[in-house]
Each structure stands twice: as C-alpha cells, then as structure tokens.
C-alpha cells in the first residue's frame, strides 16, 4: 500500500510512504541537501516517530521546502495512508 502528498516543484516536497518491510527505510533527496540535509533528516525522523511509522519505506523528494511544509506534507501522506487502510484493511 502506498500514499503520497506534495509535489516536486520549487518550495514544495513530495512525500511517499510505502508500507511493508522492516526496518524503516528513509530515502531523502533534496535540492539543498548539502546545506540542510541533516536538518531535513532529523525533522523527517521526528515526524515519523510522531506518527508511529516504524516500518516500510518513506521517500522524501525535497525542492527547498520550509520545515512547516514538510510537516504538512508528511501529515497529509500519513492521513491518506490511514484512509486507504481504513478502506482496504
């Protein structure tokens, strides 16, 4: 099962969550990786922890998004995944 939110455009970030497989794999690509790669990874890990995601694969394709945008897109992807899981348990 897979859900995503956000877009690969300037100032945005595309977040994909794919269920299945342990341990959790976090793949990050960013236009500003050299400058902010560690910050993005830390923020993403905290969010995944917050939403209780400990398995599967999470792909973050960042295009210079603010942290609040990453938070919003992650939340939307998680909510969409939960919605899918409710529809097809």
């Amino acid at each position: 099962m897979q859900a995503e939110a956000g877009y690969a455009v300037k100032g945005d970030v595309r977040v994909q969550i794919l269920t299945g497989g342990e341990p959790l794999k976090l793949k990050i690509t960013s236009k500003v990786e050299k400058l902010y790669g560690d910050q993005i990874r830390t923020a993403a890990e905290l969010l995944l922890q917050h939403y209780g995601i400990h398995s599967g694969t999470v792909i973050i394709d960042d295009h210079g998004a603010l942290e609040l945008v990453l938070q919003a897109r992650m939340r939307s992807a998680v909510e969409r995944l939960q919605h899918l899981q409710e529809e097809c348990p």
Partner: protein, 284 residues
C-alpha cells in the same frame, strides 16, 4: 482593508511569498484555486502556514469550500485553531447558511479554548439570490465583518457582460455598500480578472470606491499597488478631515463654505482612522 490578495491554498512557494506584496490581507483559497484531489492536503498546508508562518500585520482570510460540499467543515477544523483567521464563505444566499457556519465555529472555538465569537466572517455574495438578501445577511451574525462581491457567477446568472459597460454592476455594488453600511461593516469589491489590463483595473477600482466600497479583492500581486492607491485617502482628504475635526469643538459650523454637522464629523473621523490603519475594517 484596501486590497485582499487571493493565494492558491496548495502552493507553498506562493504562500511563503504572499505577505511581501503589500496587500492588507491574504485570502488563502481552498475553493476554486485547488483541484478536487488536492483539497485535503491544501487545508493541512494552509493550517500549517496559519499556525506558524509570520505574515506580520497582514490579515489572514481563508476562503473555505462551499456549504453545498462535504468539504467546508474540515476546512474550518484545519484553519480556525490558528486563532488568526477570518473565514470567507463563498456563494452565501441565506441566513441559515451563516447560522450553520456559526454553529460549527462555536464547537471549534470551544474545543480549542478560543474566545467565543472570535472568528469573524466575510460573506461572499455571488448570485442574484445572495445579492437580494444582502441586508439580512449583513445582520445575520455579529461575526460578520464584511460583505464581498463575486462578479463572475453573478454575471453568468444574470447575463451581464462582466467586462462590458462599467455601469453594469453599479446596482450590485450600491446594494452591498448600503447593506454593509447599515451594520457598520466593510464591503469589498470583486476581483478584476484581466491581468494585463491595469488601466481597466484602476477604472473599476475608482468606480467601486466612488460607490462606497472599502476595498477590492485582487488575484495577482501586480494589482495590489493600484488598488491600495485607489482605496487610500488622498492627502487633500486627510487634510480636510483634520481641519473639520479641529472645528468640531468650536461653535463654528462651517469650513470653506461647507456645513459641518454630525455626519460630516463622522465621515472625517472615518477617513483619519482609515489613513492611520489601512487594515481598518469597520465598527464590528
């Protein structure tokens, strides 16, 4: 508020920059500017910006989805907790619709420990039914602080050419201004959709100001300065207002041959208040 700049609710780059163009308000649009499959992520995104992005003194308004959809309640739940938002309801036609939104706001304000009644409303009137109900709608709740006109749907329903004769929408503007004035609230004119026709925008803004509108919604940053200039008090108006108020405490009842009475004083106070605060919105 003189200018109210619409901003698509699901575009981070625009939401980040929306505050830099000098508009008195930003209208986060969850309705027409967001595709159906993006509605959920747009409301989360707007909620995040409202909760933590610094827009300074710029007022933040959210146009929610229509009350004929199953989206508006989730829109409110996402943006109202930020405690800094005015809600713009599209296509309002009946007081019952305002009541519906007020009931939902009461629940949300209570849940998030916000002061009861603190979330204000702008009613967007876009249909002949809404326009004809303007007076009742303006007084339908103390939360209502402005009426706003949406011309596109109105013109479509009535057959009026939107960019035809400039007088064609005078009736609507006058009706809304009168209804808003009865309750001491603001009245905002419709957007100008001809993006490259700045002279047309200027003429329409001047006409709506002359008819009594307080400001105008805009859909492009380039339109902000034009609208701000039209809806700002001129130096002459400010100067005259000051001179009128200077006479207020004297027995003299004339200035430059003009009689000064209570309504003239009231108008002078309004001009000065607006000059001091571009985002002034009305008595409520």
């Amino acid at each position: 508020m003189r200018s109210l700049l619409y901003c698509p609710g699901n575009t981070p780059s625009m939401l980040t920059q929306a505050g830099i163009y000098g508009s008195d308000a930003i209208v986060f649009d969850l309705e027409d500017a967001v595709a159906p499959e993006q509605k959920d992520e747009a409301r989360v995104l707007c909620g995040a910006y409202l909760a933590s992005f610094d827009y300074g003194d710029t007022s933040c308004i959210v146009r929610i989805n229509g009350l004929d959809t199953d989206l508006w309640l989730a829109d409110l739940s996402a943006v109202v907790p930020s405690a800094r938002v005015i809600v713009r309801i599209p296509k309002v036609e009946q007081p019952r619709q305002v009541e519906q939104v007020c009931e939902a706001l009461e629940r949300i304000e209570s849940e998030y420990a916000l002061p009861a009644g603190s979330t204000k409303l702008h009613l967007l009137l876009e249909t002949p039914q809404g326009i004809e109900q303007a007076f009742v709608l303006a007084g339908s709740s103390p939360r209502v602080t402005a009426l706003a006109f949406g011309a596109e749907d109105y013109c479509s329903a009535t057959g009026i050419r939107r960019y035809g004769e400039p007088f064609a929408l005078d009736y609507v503007r006058s009706r809304l201004v009168s209804a808003a004035g009865a309750y001491g609230i603001a009245c905002f004119d419709t957007v100008w959709g001809m993006l490259s026709d700045h002279e047309g925008l200027q003429r329409e803004a001047e006409r709506s100001r002359a008819l009594g509108c307080s400001g105008k919604s805009v859909i492009h940053p380039d339109q902000v300065a034009i609208v701000n200039a039209v809806f700002s008090a001129t130096i002459e108006e400010i100067d005259q207002a000051r001179r009128i108020l200077e006479r207020a405490d004297t027995a003299l009842s004339q200035l430059d041959g003009r009689m000064i009475d209570a309504p003239v004083l009231s108008q002078a106070r309004r001009i000065l208040a607006k000059a001091e605060n571009g985002s002034q919105e009305g008595k409520r």
